[in-house]
């Protein structure tokens, strides 16, 4: 099997990388793909708690890197979706415990076993970032419509181009339709104009994401959440399907507005 290794990064912290990694992995697994979410934020691990798997960790990424256990043993199998897996980061070590070379080896092994390896990267552009992108075939940049996140995303795009990553996609998280409508939030064409990379998806602001992560549940596995539907659409777009950029039953006026924006744009 030759699976795809996709790194999720952003530069800025708090834009939703971990939530994205957890939910897109779950959505891909829900579509029948064998998926593993990998936490590379050594020292500040969080993917486990967002996915509700924090009580099942025995071994972690650093144990694998340092040869204390085989990769297979550190991977946790999710009980909700049969094809969903997670490889946790170590919590008591720091980023220097992993190297880009070690990550490349681990990614090669995961690529042979999983359809999708989703790598959640730490915030920042230091060592942890370089570990996270080392084995990536594709990179997803998560940003929000805020000037700080977009500026950091631009910096990361520059670093990815320097690292010769060819496949770079953008996800715009936490979009507030009402704020965009009244001109108080950067809208999608503005952001695409500035960052000039291909758009993979748009996730609306959604309170239910806080509720899901409070409970260790995955929004992408529940039909009721608009953000959850957006994650599912992104998973389908990754599979090459023609899924909509936004959930279908969003506010109608917003959809109309969105349609007017994309009229004549090749997307």
């Amino acid at each position: 099997m030759a699976g795809r290794v996709i790194t999720v990064t952003s530069g800025k912290g708090g834009v939703g990388k971990t939530t994205f990694s957890a939910n897109v992995s779950a959505a891909l697994a829900g579509l029948g793909k064998k998926a593993v979410a990998v936490d590379t934020d050594v020292g500040l691990r969080n993917l486990d708690i967002v996915m509700g798997l924090e009580n099942r960790i025995v071994y972690d990424l650093v144990d694998v890197v340092e040869g204390r256990c085989r990769l297979q043993k550190a991977i946790i199998r999710d009980k909700r979706v049969a094809t969903l897996h997670m490889l946790p980061a170590a919590q008591t070590r720091d980023k220097s415990a992993v190297s880009p070379d070690a990550m490349e080896k681990i990614c090669a092994e995961l690529r042979s076993q999983f359809d999708f390896t989703i790598i959640d990267s730490p915030a920042g552009i230091e060592g942890g970032f370089h570990n996270a992108i080392a084995g990536a075939d594709e990179v997803v940049i998560v940003t929000t419509p805020h000037v700080s996140a977009i500026r950091d995303a631009d910096r990361v795009i520059g670093l990815l181009e320097a690292a010769e990553k060819q496949q770079i996609f953008l996800v715009i998280n936490r979009l507030q339709a009402e704020m965009v409508r009244r001109g108080d939030m950067l809208d999608i064409p503005d952001i695409l104009d500035i960052l000039a990379i291909e758009l993979l998806g748009i996730i609306p602001e959604d309170e239910s994401i806080v509720v899901s992560s409070n409970r260790g549940e995955l929004a992408a596995l529940h039909a009721a959440s608009p953000a959850g539907r957006a994650y599912k659409n992104i998973a389908r777009r990754l599979l090459g399907e023609d899924a909509p950029l936004m959930p279908m039953d969003e506010d109608k006026s917003f959809l109309k507005w969105l349609a007017s924006l994309f009229k004549g744009r090749a997307l």
Binding site: V147, I150, R151, G158, M185, L186, D190, D193, I194
Partner: protein, 112 residues
């Protein structure tokens, strides 16, 4: 918009009259031009002083109204200078203020 929204806006110290999106876009474009080009802070001010010196040798310009900015699109980064002229001391011209902008006059615009 509901009554409550109107009330909140009325009482809020934030200026809701001007949508803030344009400000965000312009500020971002300028910041990213600095970031990408690795330009030192104050580059625009230095350019401004330099341009004034050069232009002032040949033309009478309105220094206070000079506007120098970077514009960033997916195709290219541009430096756009708008330099209003005071009435040129030529006999042919009859009053009024002549304005020349960099977009119309290529020699005053240069790419970064």
């Amino acid at each position: 918009m509901g009554f409550l929204d109107k009330l909140i806006k009325h009482l809020s110290p934030v200026d809701y009259a001007q949508p803030s999106k344009q400000a965000a876009k312009e500020r971002l474009k300028l910041a990213l031009t600095y970031d990408r080009g690795g330009l030192a802070q104050g580059t625009i001010e230095q350019l401004r002083d330099g341009i004034i010196q050069v232009i002032a040798k040949h033309l009478t310009i309105n220094e206070d109204e000079i506007d120098i900015n970077f514009d960033r699109t997916s195709e290219q980064d541009k430096l756009i200078a708008t330099i209003p002229l005071r009435m040129a001391p030529r006999p042919r011209m009859r009053g009024g203020q002549a304005t020349s902008t960099a977009e119309k006059a290529p020699p005053q615009s240069s790419k970064t």
